[in-house]
Amino acid sequence: MNLVRAELERLSARRFVQLMVVLLVVAFAVTAATTLVGSHKPSVSELNSARGQAAEARRDLEANHQLCLARQNGDVVGDSDDFFPSDCSAIDPIRQDRLPIPADFLPGVFTFADQAEPLLYFLIAFLVLFGFLVGASYIGADLTSGGVVNLLLWRPRRTTVLAAKLGTLLGAVLVLSLLASVAYLATFWVIGQTAGLPGRLDGEFWSSLGAVHGRGLVLVLLASALGFAIATLGRHTSAALGALAAYAVVWELGARLVLEIVDAPNSDLFMLSSHIGAWLNGGARFYDEQICRGSTGLSCEGFYTMTWGVSLLVLLAITGGLTAAAFAVFRRRDLI
């Protein structure tokens, strides 16, 4: 406990951590301020007009669907310029992800229910970057400056010292992420209430937002551990940054291109970014034209699914593997 306390003090005193927190607050403040300035509380007439436009848009969708069905059944001969899909269920309003709502017709009005999720994704992206960089610099700087050696002279238990560092990092990042996300969402909720619209904040909305939030926090912790592990293996903060840049260029860009050229099936399965997306969104569908190759029917859509469970396993295996390797190497390494 004493070691964790000491580590927490060191972590919070790091200039880089303080800088990243300031950047987070600035990004947060700029986003909130621009939202506040660009939004206004809609008047009754604006609301009535928006409701009317939304209802009309929904009616148009329904009418279009009915027309498609009628043409398919041969009941109506339509204008040849009109485009209808071969399968009318594709434009069935009931099967749409979302239907037009009044908020869609209120320009310059911030609606919390519509914007909360994209805003949360932005925060998660920042926190993932924050966790990775802070995790890498925390151990990287300590290894190069001799701080770890100093500590080991006091507590000559390498695994304990490294575990205390990692545990402190993950705990601190988790608490900061929780506080930041709660403050962030609360601020925008207040903006929605006072200078915009709250939107439809039912149980489904909150559970969906909560799920994204929870998955986002897991991703932030995984990124922090990954940065920490790579910097430990490479002895420097720059090792983690270099590994990240090399992975992005060599694998995500280079290998993706090669896999496409050689027509490798399901190439997205091999990309970490796909798994991150699948985990964060609760699953993902990817198009691959090879799936339908040789298929004659219209039922083949050419998509394959990546479930969040498999993606989580992949992310855990990579992070866990590198972290275990970091501990194993650190236990045996000469600290000079």
């Binding site: 004493n2 060191r10 001799g146 701080g147 080991l152 002279l153 006091w154 000559p156 045996r332 000079i336």
Partner: protein
Amino acid sequence: MSAVIEIEGLRKTFQSLRSGRRVAVDGFDLLVEAGQVHGFLGPNGSGKTTTLRALLGLVRADSGRMAVLGEPSPELLPRVAGQVGAIVESPQFFGNFSGYRTLRLLAHAGGVPVSRVDEVLDLVGLHDRGDERVKGYSLGMKQRLAVASALLKDPRLLILDEPANGLDPAGIREMRDLMRSLAANGVTVLVSSHILGEIQLICDHVTIISQGRRVATGRVDEVLAGHDRHEFLVRVAEPERAVELLHAAELTAVVDGGALVVSGVSDPTVVSRVLGEQGLWVGELTPLRPDLESVFLELTGAYEHPSVPRQVGDSSLPQGGAVIDLDRGVDA
């Protein structure tokens, strides 16, 4: 006396792609007993710091046996770590922390009462500067802080690697007094230093390492006595004639400047008698006692070719590789 540090047959090699395999420590032995102030000497690159790092579990030894306060190191070092204060080379501290905060942090990590921080700051002369940031400290102040961190645990064993680095003459003297005072209070001190005069003043025992091997160990006065060639500086009116007379009396003498250096003299009265009987009156008869520096340079071969710049690692072993162990005799 009980052994506080025991090292037997320590061997450590470093391997790198660029420079290949390098033997840093090659079968090194060290014995430090309770209550000693033990000097640990060696030229740059001779293996001093590697030995200390291996002893403290910072580098993995290839082979050999080590024990600290009776516990095998590094396996059971955590058992006694609370009684061992150490600095290895120049420790780096967090620049944004004050000296006080640095020590308080270490006190937290090591479970030491925070009240001890003020005591050690006072001991190393940083009491009035403890609230300043470490990055504003001079090299000497950082060194004092390092020593303070080693003293924080109120250790039974203090291991100091080059503690006088960056200290001004007054600081060196304070460090010397501090070590004496610690030794008087029963703390065993192992100190490595390049300032040989300091080692001679502070230490009662010494071990000299060269090329990763022990070349001498024992009480400082005995190590010095072991290198005493029984030489005397003699001043007479006619040095050339005096040399002839001394040679005739089967003594070795050479003219050095305006004086003679006579060696192999067990009884100095022989010199004055031989010369006096022939009417040459001795104006000065001074024993030439070896100091630690001359012994160090002789044992490590660091002064073989004064005109050629010596390179790091150019030290050598005594002829035949004999180890002068004044506690045990001479090991071949």
